[in-house]
Symmetry: C2
Subunit: 468 residues, 2 copies
């Protein structure tokens, strides 16, 4: 199923030749501060969607910008599709918030090319890696093919949303309502990482369960002198509650039934991961750490690829400004999340978590839970449509055997494609773990962008019927 | 030593007659947002000091506004002092921050008179009770005496600072440098509470030890999908550390040596407190709670008046804005404080606290401690100068026997007067525990203001030599 060199080479050369123009288009996309979780950026999210709509329209697609209660969803279909398999590409145009802003070396929405420590150039901006840069590898691949051969090798549709980073509830009902329009042979999701120099398809993804907890003790903030000791301190109560979720010795989550249904990967797979993935010292050393946290008995990579986690994503109570205030706060808030693996049921785990928290509260304190999204973990079968040709295409482009890996992140749409559209999803991404997604100074290697584009060209050709 | 009614009555009548004008002056003082801990309010602190300087100058005092590295310190001496004892009044012109602003029913610096649930009028503004309203009870007492008899019954000096609410380091060296100028027979500190309807002199005060803890794990914020489980979460680590300071069963602080030197009050004193102070249900019920926190075996009042405490005053880590962000934070910060009682050494307790925290940290995480003030607890001897006549004067004004009580708050200047100026300090205040000092909608009963003023008139007369 490998495409003939005669068809492929001119397209790859076209991609090489027009890289600067592709980069300029990506920069324009990156300048739009489409932070989906912050209501004041709603217009920017719409602008990002409109920018994509215009790009895809210019590339010969019928594009519909679907309104939702949140940010718009784009669906694009090739106006002149070939016969043969149908692929549905998925990406998102929204980005994470940028705080703490002070830690950015340049404006998060002022993209630039800077040299990394190894001399290689990288694109620096919020969204460079997650996910605008990755989305544009696919769109620029289409542009190069269109410019060279006119017709795409397979029938391509795109689904691009704007609520990935805020766990928005609108994509699932949209997919359910547009099931027939969206269904294809395979989904192509470009929102994951590869290993340094080694292309990868992510075949397992963690699910996620997010929850906001609001503890209320006294009806108001108190003077810590007048009430200190006697009135319950919600910050201390919250610390007690949150530090009880994990066993201090084993690092395991103590909620009843939390690990029910969770299976370890095979010894062979674990051995293979140890060959290709960074060891603990390398993986943690990159962010200044050396001692793995979490569960004992697993490597850091195993912990993120195949074990469920508990995280405090945010906590706040009392006075946290400059100086000191002897306040005894009346309330305390935390945002927490569990990353889930195959076999775990988010609904049951949410119930266990809420029950655990409630059981620890004195009767005169109250807790409010606000669900912040939940999704099942997902795993791709070995015989999924397109998996083999895609591995081959990636191996050809990167000149090294592509591998299948796990991903600690949660990309609910992969499971949703399986469940709602009854098709597998190939997670092919060119980000690197050190891209600082969600952090200040997010970057995307220029190599990721360029060879990512070339990889998609090869993948689309490889998916075409052998006689194409 | 009770002043003759012939001298006293006209002064009290003058105070009654001019109450509205006194209130207008207090309102002008309250309109100045002199928040000492926030650098952007430095000019407002200076304005508050200048406002007081002008008032005192107009009342016949030589006033010096002393510059410090922080906010100015005012010292005022009577230009025409009588013979006889010398008293040094202490108050502060700075106020606490006002957040959360949304919980204020009216602007914190737009003072107003509103009717409370019992129909009694109250002054509502930041600083109404702590401490501008209290300071003005004394200054208005002087004004009424001056207007009526010309000469004050005792030699009066005033020391009014602007860094009480931020634990500023400048008052102690100032007192040391001006020891001879400031030394008097007794200090009069108006920054404490009375019981509802029952006047009180506070004879024990808790000390305080404040500390900011900054935990650092990864060098930057991480994506909780990529690193979740494997990289240490500083918010979770901070929760574990802070929830370990107190024993969950007994409520006692577990730091080694924490209770060394701490003695329980006598059974007689505890019995007396139970008579005059609110019971647990009343004390906690006022703020919506019913179950005492803290140490088992003590009433809520005992816990705040005579037992040391641990409080989390603020905690912050990760994303706490609107929506959800799947960040694994790189750092976490808390502001904590211990209220100390007689016998406890803040230096040794700080050492024990820091050692306890350090011992809990993995080797690849770091902690930074920032001291935020420390002071010894203090206790007044039974035979302190002025104690008896002041109790009598208060009993006369409020028509009920005045009592001696403890205070959970920390007013370091009381100990400093003892230590540096070698004189006792009488803590006489007219605030109530429900005044919401440090909280939104801070208030001061109009009765507190009016009868506070009248109380000072009686106290100053009572301190004069019997033949005056």
């Amino acid at each position: 199923m490998t495409a003939s060199p005669s068809t492929l080479s001119p397209v790859l050369e076209q991609a090489d030749r027009t890289l600067d123009a592709a980069l300029a288009r990506l920069f324009a996309f990156l300048r739009i501060p489409s932070i989906s979780t912050q209501p004041e950026h709603a217009d920017d999210c719409r602008r990002a969607a409109m920018w994509l709509r215009d790009e895809l329209d210019g590339l010969g697609f019928d594009v519909t910008m679907h309104e939702t209660p949140g940010h718009p969803i784009l669906v694009a279909h090739d106006r002149t599709p070939p016969a043969g398999p149908h692929v549905l590409f998925y990406g998102h145009y929204d980005v994470q918030p940028v705080d703490p802003l002070a830690l950015w070396a340049s404006g998060p929405f002022e993209p630039g090319l800077v040299a990394g420590p190894d001399g290689a150039r990288r694109i620096v901006a919020r969204g460079a890696s997650d996910d605008k840069g990755q989305v544009m590898t696919f769109i620029e691949a289409i542009r190069a093919i269109r410019a060279t051969t006119g017709t795409l090798p397979v029938r391509v549709s795109l689904l691009i949303e704007g609520e990935e980073e805020c766990g928005g509830p609108n994509l699932v009902p949209f997919m359910e309502a547009h099931r027939d329009e969206l269904r294809a042979e395979v989904g192509l999701i470009c929102d994951t990482a590869m290993l340094p120099g080694v292309p990868a398809i992510t075949t397992t993804l963690r699910g996620m369960l997010g929850e906001e907890i609001h503890l209320r003790c006294a009806t108001r903030d108190l003077h810590s002198g007048i009430y200190g000791n006697a009135a319950r301190n919600p910050a201390e109560l919250l610390c007690t509650v949150l530090s009880s979720i994990r066993d201090g010795e084993t690092g395991r989550v103590v909620l009843p039934g939390f690990y029910a249904g969770v299976e370890d990967p095979s010894p062979a797979l674990r051995a293979r991961w140890r060959e290709i993935a960074p060891d603990d010292a390398t993986f943690l050393g990159e962010v200044g750490l050396s001692i793995p946290a979490g569960e004992k008995g697993y490597t850091a990579i195993e912990q993120t690829w195949c074990r469920p986690s508990f995280e405090i994503n945010g906590i706040s109570s009392g006075y946290t400004g400059e100086g000191f205030k002897t306040v005894l706060p009346g309330e305390a808030v935390a945002k927490v999340s569990f990353r889930l693996v195959a076999g775990q049921d988010p609904v049951r785990i949410r119930q266990a978590f809420c029950a655990h928290v409630r059981a620890m509260l004195p009767d005169d304190c109250t807790v409010t839970f606000t669900p912040c999204g939940g999704s099942m973990a997902s795993a791709l079968p070995d015989d999924a449509f397109g998996l083999r040709p895609t591995l081959q295409a990636l191996s050809d482009e990167w000149n090294t055997p592509a591998v299948t890996i796990g991903c600690g992140g949660s990309i609910p749409v992969a499971g949703d494609m399986q469940r709602i559209l009854d098709m597998p999803a190939l997670l092919v991404g060119f980000a690197l773990d050190d891209d600082r997604a969600h952090s200040p100074n997010e970057k995307y290697e220029l190599t990721s962008f360029h060879k990512g584009m070339r990889s998609w060209i090869r993948i689309l050709h490889a998916m075409a019927p052998a006689d194409a």
